[in-house]
Amino acid sequence: MQQLVDSLLGPQASVPVWVAYFGAMLAFGGLVVFGFVLPIAGITTWVERRVMGRIQSRIGPNRVGPAGFLQWLADGIKNMLKEDIVPIAADAPLFKLAPYVVMTGFIAAFVAIPFGGPLIIADLNVGILYVTAVTSLVVVGILMAGWSSNNKWSLLGGIRSAAQIVSYEIPAGLSIFPIVMLAGALSMQQIIKAQGAAPWHWFVFENPFTFLAFFIFFVAALAEGNRTPFDLPEAESELVMGFATEYSGMRNLLFFMAEWGNLYVIGAIVTTLFLGGGRLPGGLENAPAIVSIPLQFAVFFLKSYFWVLVAIWLRWTLPRIRVDQMMIMCWKYLVPLAFVNLLGTAAWMVVFPSGLEAMRIALFALAVVLGIAFLIRVRYHLRRAGLRRDELSFNPLAGARVPGLG
């Protein structure tokens, strides 16, 4: 983004350079937060509710706006108008501060998240380390929420969440190391540049260890985002809403927004680290900025949002893991495997300093084969359910049934 400002300013500078940079960062930051992050968090709720609806054989919201698209705005306005209840026995300052801490931890991550091409608020040279560190701030917020609610169920939820997020930092961090080793830098833009545009030049297919590291990172990132199957802190059937039970109105909404926006952060990090960011085939990247920047943004956004959809899909398929099983999974399964990946990648880099093209293509082919096998299985399920052709609908905005005829 520095280059962007430089190119806009030109050689003659009427304001000191640092003022220009600072102003540009503020402007871009404000644009990103209010124009991208918060709407994305809201729109993801709409997407989730509609996808959830179809998975559950029903329609999602479809009254407010076309296909229910304005539902999230309506929810936001409703929550702002709600009574702000602070329980009498709750620790008021902590209680009120907790949602803001969670939001801070979540929004601060966007400083170093790339949006494709040169679009990034600040290309820190410790990019990925910064993002991992700052997203852990939510633990403090959740613990504050759980404790200050003066509710034993909230306390349980807060403690569970702290244990979960802190534990799953380890496999997430360990899975990042192979990528950092391959790219040779922590900076997000550098990691993207170290990958190519073609799928088999992405880091996920680089060698079998990074392939495994991808899955470990995705699972660990889901756990950090409190998403099912790891949503014990807010397990609805056990703890009503876990740490956020006593929250009402806008404070509650802030927790929710942080959760859904975090999905996008996960998607963006996964895309940056493993899926080649917004890389375009050679010629397109060198095209004039007016063409290449939107294209790179679009490619990056589509790749990240795909993982948001996968997270939503997983949420509505899988049940919840119990606390001790979650710990076992982290420490006995994910951490050893992540270490194996780390050492394996290091060994691979020693044996094949510039990687093995055949392995990359083989892994990509494997992924394609698995995808096709999966689609065949989906077709088998449709067949077995004995559905007639008119009971299927590929229209994502399919309507409702007519009584007496269905």
Binding site: R58, W313, L318, Y333, A400
Partner: protein, 185 residues
């Protein structure tokens, strides 16, 4: 736990999760099951019309064919039917001055409609009965004192009463106690 069991755990987890994902993905292309009642039904479709004939909705009394036998009042376990009927020599039979059904108490069991000889009291497919006050849930069927119906030998000939009687008898004949003929299946 040996290495074999460890790897098998991982394999089981991956395979069963993928299976679940396949089922869920297959649901994404199925039509939803929702009926958008009440305001987004296609034109002319009323849910009430799609309900079966035996549906036990809100009670209705066709006073033209009510014989004031009081069988429904006796049968109701909750005593939500109140009928006032007196013999009136001048009018030539039983005269009903009150036929109230308290729908707030009614449990839609159908015990009143079973013993009715003409099917005057019957359940309708109507189920939208919500209202703002409890008193409005009492259905009063007698506006002015009315003479009870006397079933005529040889069938009903009055063109206004005949269809009502036919519908009433059709309703009552659905009940097993009154089915004399061969059964359906």
């Amino acid at each position: 736990m040996g290495l074999g069991a460890y790897l098998r755990n991982i394999k089981d987890a991956a395979v069963t999760i993928a299976e679940g994902l396949a089922v869920t993905a297959s649901h994404l292309v199925r039509k939803p099951y929702t009926v958008q009642y009440p305001d987004r039904l296609p034109d002319g479709v009323r849910v009430q019309d799609t309900l079966p004939f035996r549906y036990r909705g809100i009670l209705e009394v066709d006073l033209e064919i009510c014989t004031a036998c009081l069988a429904c009042e006796r049968a109701c376990p909750i005593d939500c039917i109140v009928i006032d009927a007196e013999k009136d020599k001048a009018a030539g039979g039983l005269v009903m001055t009150r036929f109230d059904i308290d729908m707030a108490k009614c449990m839609y069991c159908g015990l009143c409609s079973e013993p009715c000889p003409t099917g005057a009291i019957h359940h309708t497919p109507e189920f939208e009965g919500a209202d703002y006050s409890l008193e409005s849930l009492v259905r009063k069927f007698v506006k002015a004192p009315v003479l009870a119906y006397k079933p005529k030998k040889g069938g009903e000939t009055d063109p206004e009463i005949a269809p009502v009687l036919e519908r009433g008898m059709r309703y009552v004949e659905e009940f097993a106690v009154n089915a004399e003929g061969p059964s359906e299946e």
